[in-house]
């Protein structure tokens, strides 16, 4: 087992059973150590080297994007304008088709106009039915509160003095107009008696 302090349990923490030659954790450690230190078969390195050479005589090429990686026949330079141009053209064609298709679908689909709520037109009552005869229901309204203006009963003494002095100081005013009395004809009065 790992002799470093990574092992939280000390070796031999559990009492040894009678059937096993050593204590449990020690037995476990022995087994794990045995497996971890298994002898490496002879010639392993050579076989690994050979398998890699078989798998890739010139080395396995790193994985690249597999899109548009079709094998070109023969020498790539023999193809018109080279292989790269063909790939670029094919990619452009694919992009054009996809974009064109998307644009066409976008054009065909009806786009929703501005949100306008259309109210249904009021249809005249059909014959034989009842109508409201143009009556419009008016909802009952509640009378609002009446605001009472506060009446000031007490007036200051200064104001009353001023008013009285002003009244006295004023020149002789014409007498208050006498109530208009409409004279009635005597005959009418006598006839009444």
């Amino acid at each position: 087992m790992n002799p470093t302090p990574d092992n939280p349990l000390p070796s031999g923490a559990v009492p040894a059973p009678a059937s096993f030659p050593v204590s449990f954790p020690a037995s476990l450690d022995d087994t794990l150590r045995l497996v971890a230190h298994a002898p490496v078969p002879a010639g392993l390195k050579e076989r690994v080297h050979a398998s890699l050479m078989e798998a890739a005589p010139h080395g396995v090429a790193p994985r690249r994007a597999r899109i548009l990686m079709w094998p070109a026949s023969g020498d790539p330079s023999a193809i018109w304008m080279g292989n790269g141009w063909l790939r670029t053209a094919a990619a452009a064609a694919i992009v054009f088709v996809v974009a064109g298709g998307g644009w066409g679908m976008y054009q065909r689909v009806e786009r929703p106009t501005a949100k306008v709520i259309v109210m249904p037109v009021a249809q005249p009552a059909t014959s034989g039915g009842f109508s409201s005869a143009g009556a419009i229901r008016t909802p009952q309204t509640v009378k609002g509160p009446v605001v009472m203006q506060p009446v000031t009963k007490t007036t200051s003494k200064k104001q009353t003095r001023k008013k009285t002095s002003a009244r006295l100081a004023a020149p002789s005013q014409p007498a208050a107009q006498a109530p208009i009395v409409i004279a009635q004809p005597v005959s009418a009065v006598a006839g009444g008696k």
């Binding site: 939280p8 476990l28 022995d30 890699l52």
Partner: protein, 196 residues
């Protein structure tokens, strides 16, 4: 005039293919050095899980094939040893998962081949192999997380930090899993003893 001076002077040109070839040669050399240095470690890691020499060797070869596929990124790897162990660990776990459908190999016979035979009689070797097979069967009963940490902790060259890096967990998780694994193993072995 040296080569670099000639290049700067524009007299010589190094073709792209030559540069590419030199780069591939350097990568091949680095890969060969990795094989020479770490194939034994990778084999032991693979054997600790698969417990079959042929399967372990296949796993090592598959791991190096994966490395070959990504050899252009070798210079970006900081710790090649941990990186390779992580690769072979994933290969081994894939194989173990696939092998569940197949009949299990004879652990006792494989372990008998691994056991040191010096100073032991055939009967003792057989008994020891049977005992180790029994312990390993108990290891197989552990939960996968605990079992992985327990198996990797058996490698003295791997610290808990490196085990954490291989498994992609924290160091504290490694410690707690190892603690649980050892407790569970003690219980399992105790239970097996009581059944006898």
């Amino acid at each position: 005039m040296s080569t670099s001076e000639a290049i700067y002077a524009g007299w010589m040109e190094i073709s792209d293919s030559a540069v590419e070839q030199a780069r591939m040669q350097a990568e091949d050399t680095a890969l060969a050095a990795l094989i020479d240095q770490y194939s034994g470690t990778l084999y032991r890691v693979a054997f600790s899980v698969l417990r079959n020499p042929a399967d372990a060797e296949d796993a090592v070869q598959e791991a190096f094939l994966r490395v070959l596929r990504h050899r252009h990124t070798l210079h970006e790897v900081r710790d090649h040893r941990v990186w390779l162990i992580r690769i072979v660990w994933n290969v081994v776990l894939d194989r173990k998962r696939r092998a569940k459908t197949r009949p299990e190999t004879d652990d006792v016979a494989d372990l008998a081949r691994v056991l040191p035979s010096s100073g032991l009689s055939a009967e003792e070797i057989a008994a020891a192999a049977q005992h180790h097979a029994h312990v390993l069967a108990c290891v197989d009963k552990l939960p996968p997380k605990e079992r992985e940490v327990l198996l990797l902790s058996a490698f003295e060259e791997l610290s808990s930090v490196e085990i954490a890096s291989v498994l992609g967990i924290t160091e504290s998780s490694v410690r707690s899993r190892l603690f649980r694994a050892r407790n569970l193993m003690a219980e399992l072995l105790d239970h097996a003893r009581s059944l006898r």
